[in-house]
Symmetry: C2
Subunit: 246 residues, 2 copies
DNA sequence: ACAAAAGTGTTTAATATACACCCATGT
DNA sequence: ACATGGGTGTATATTAAACACTTTTGT
């Protein structure tokens, strides 16, 4: 191997990103619509990902992939697992796709899974034409994906749940200013169970990193809710389940 | 790439194992003593690890590495992170060592970290001459290790703590039959703080997977303690911090 | 007799849970 | 006026925490 290998893609290691978004209609994941080589069946989706470059580390690879896709920097990013089954590629159309984009399409690839959180206000796929065709897909109607991406997504989802129980990362999925209702809604959606409104508010407002603003919602057909901000600096890291409802 | 690649080691992906053990003198990690090519300084340690084979998945690679080292099957094993800094190899003696054992010593390697738990009764390095020189090292006197292995060890340690707070895996570090005192000792050691004896016993015995035996310690210079067994089948998986003391 | 760890309950504090009505806004 | 989500407090149950003495064995 030589110096100029460092400028190339490593044939054996990739990074795949499970990018979560959240809005009124629920939890979303960002999928890439792949051109189906044989065009036999309908749309063909995969997680955004790429081989790593030999001069970047894994986090940098994930950031690069996300930047190319969304043009955003400084997204929340967390590595959750590596996937290395030799038969990760077993469908014929996956293999065909690899042949169309990879220098070494038969190479065995181990992939490292990251999940990322995006504020919906910051990325609307339709408005971004420079990227590959990206699409927000509701988490509960995700179809069969390429390779082992359904497995990666499932693991990413578990990682998100765990993270949200132990660290205040949910804010990364909400607008800069949000209501307690939106925050509760997010937790209920991700965790998959309902939370008592009064208990939720008591617990969450008791945490120092939530900053109440002197501002209210506007233009809603009900009593306007107070807006809050996440105060990163007030948060002191310490593992203990912070959001353990139920 | 061709068919016979599948019989070979993948040059770019390895697995490293943080193998924990526990006895009277505390928490241990299993280190490999590497022959120091330039013999300038003292002993040179690294975590057990190897490039993966192209026909095995990551778990299988970890199992193979552990089997070669300990001759044991069915060890507890948990993947915790991937490490892919391009400058993982930055010391000259690490590079020399790679040149002496690797087909492609300059290749960029991403490694996947696993931690494993061994009952001390099951593995005594001195008694195993077939393996590379392995040594139990007390966790708090681990010297500077090869590559980024100190980082991997540190991350493995955090992963163990997290696991022990949420699942009953501590039993994998204790003899088949153990006392509540040993169990508490283990938790105190790993977690790094003291636990009230009565509260600990109340909580732990309230869990269904702990089976009290009609048997006592023998030959101890104090009141002999009752022995317990871990009853795997009685344990129903459900994440919520099971061992959250302090 | 002494040393060493085992074993055992109660009180208090903190936290979690369950629960229902009025409020402010847009249509 | 009605529909919608916002906002609020209290009582009870559960869980966590603090705390000290007696027991059994080997030396």
């Amino acid at each position: 191997m030589s110096e100029n290998q460092s400028l190339s893609l490593n044939p054996n290691v990739s990074v795949d990103c499970v990018v979560f978004g959240f809005d009124l209609s629920g939890l979303k994941v960002l999928l890439i619509e792949r051109e189906n080589p044989d065009n036999t069946d309908g749309k063909n989706y995969q997680l955004p990902g790429d081989l790593i470059r030999n001069d970047e580390n894994l986090d940098e690879a994930a950031k690069r992939i996300l930047k190319e896709l969304t043009a955003l920097d400084n997204l929340f990013l967390s590595q959750f697992a590596a996937f290395g089954d030799p038969s990760r590629v077993k469908r014929e159309n996956d293999l065909e796709w690899l042949r169309s984009v990879r220098k070494d399409p038969e190479a065995r690839v181990v992939t490292v899974g990251y999940f990322s959180l995006i504020k919906p206000e910051n990325f609307k796929p339709a408005a971004n034409s420079f990227a590959r065709k990206a699409e927000w897909m509701s988490i509960d109607i995700v179809p069969e994906l390429a390779f082992d991406h359904n497995l990666i997504l499932q693991n990413g989802m578990e990682a998100l749940k765990l993270k949200m129980r132990t660290e205040p990362v949910g804010f990364e999925l909400l607008p800069e200013k949000f209501t307690l209702g939106q925050l509760q809604n997010l937790y209920e959606t991700v965790m998959g169970f309902e939370i008592d409104k009064r208990n939720f508010r008591r617990k969450i407002t008791g945490m120092d990193f939530l900053k109440a603003l002197d501002e209210k919602q506007q233009g809603v057909a009900h009593k306007p809710a107070r807006l809050y901000e996440f105060n990163q600096s007030a948060y002191n890291h310490s593992f203990s389940p912070m959001f353990d409802f139920q």
